[in-house]
């Protein structure tokens, strides 16, 4: 009966390999399938009264928003000129320190490694690899509203 035992073991092994193969295939397909989480929806949160925003200049503000019912806060700069209103995140794109605004040079400067951004948030000196994040902005009923991906 030596022969049939050998055949049984061979078949059992093939069965184990087939299961392992199917499992890996399933896991691989799960990894490659688009998760759909990339297309996040924008939710709008009030940042400030339009009256409080200077006609031209930079104002520090704190954006309070909520993701899945959890309240979160973000430091932002409201940058306004007579024809444009932008809201920039104060988080440095290098390593996440909070940048400060220098009125004299009209630049944002990071205290950690000296990264500099111009008034539009573009990285102009130091280690930051990309500009400051600009939030989508809308003015509705006299309120400055900021869009956050949740």
């Amino acid at each position: 009966m030596e022969h049939s035992r050998r055949e049984f073991i061979a078949k059992a092994l093939y069965g184990v390999f087939a299961l392992l193969g199917l499992g890996s295939l399933f896991a691989g397909l799960r990894v490659l399938a688009p998760s759909g989480k990339q297309d996040k929806e924008l939710a709008w949160f009030p940042l400030a009264d339009e009256e409080e925003v200077p006609r031209s200049g930079v104002k520090k503000a704190e954006l309070v928003y909520a993701i899945a019912g959890k309240e979160r806060k973000a430091r932002v700069f409201i940058v306004s000129s007579p024809d444009r209103l932008t809201v920039l995140s104060a988080v440095c794109s290098h390593l996440g320190c909070l940048v400060n605004y220098r009125k004299e040079s009209r630049e944002f400067v990071c205290p950690c490694h000296g990264g500099k951004y111009d008034i539009a948030g573009k990285n102009i000196a130091g280690p930051p690899p990309i500009p400051l994040t600009a939030y989508p902005v809308e003015v509705r009923n006299g309120m400055v509203m900021v869009g956050v991906k949740v």
Binding site: A27, R30, V31, L32, A33, S35
Partner: protein
């Protein structure tokens, strides 16, 4: 299964399959002789998980770190696949050392198998190069500074040092060019070379058979 018979007639895969997979091994063999095979299994696992990871990883200065965080956050089983790749890579070095110890202790590297050892040595260097280039890819502080130190060591080679360091870094310093270069080595140059040496290694061991032990 007519289609299988037809394909077998044209490709002859059952013969080859028998020859490659159903090879009997000597009865006196023991588990110390399994480390080479385990190493190869780990290599296959690294290949599979690496294929999946390469579908999400972005080898650029500004996106590399972010793309890995995104893999963890948004891809189902993404963290698992990355962890499997990480640990299989680490384990592979361990099993190679155990395999080499077995070959050394049993004297299996001797005539007529000396080239098996030579090809294996190339595979060891290739595996360590996989480790070195893969270590930079997460593009975090640890990865960056490890590569700065590693490439500085290349730079300390007499005479050709600065040329070699420039060749490895793709510039005078570790930058996005280095990252792209390491990525290219990690997913193209090294796997191709490893494939060639693996074929040599396996081809030769099948020709001579495994050694008679002590």
């Amino acid at each position: 299964m007519k289609i299988l018979e037809y394909l077998n007639d044209r490709l002859g895969f059952t013969g080859r399959h028998r020859r490659i997979l159903d090879k009997p091994v000597p009865g006196w063999i023991n588990y110390y002789y399994c480390f080479g095979g385990i190493t190869f299994m780990l290599f296959v696992m690294l290949l599979m998980t690496g294929l999946l990871l390469s579908s999400y990883y972005i080898p650029s200065e500004s996106d590399a770190y972010r793309s890995i965080q995104q893999l963890h956050r948004e891809v189902p089983l993404g963290g698992l696949i990355r962890a499997a790749h990480h640990w299989a890579g680490n384990l592979m070095v361990v099993t190679i050392v155990l395999h080499m110890l077995r070959v050394f202790v049993t004297g299996s590297y001797k005539n007529p198998r000396e080239l098996h050892w030579v090809a294996g040595s190339f595979l060891l260097v290739l595996t360590l190069s996989f480790g070195f280039t893969g270590y930079l890819l997460p593009w975090d502080q640890k990865a960056y500074w490890a590569t700065v130190i590693g490439t500085n060591m290349v730079g300390s080679v007499p005479l050709a040092g600065s040329f070699l360091a420039g060749l490895v870094r793709g510039g005078a310093e570790v930058t996005g060019a280095t990252l792209l270069r390491f990525y290219s080595m990690h997913i193209l140059w090294l796997p191709l070379s490893t494939g060639i040496f693996l074929w040599l290694h396996f081809h030769m061991i099948r020709r001579t058979g495994i050694s008679g032990g002590m």
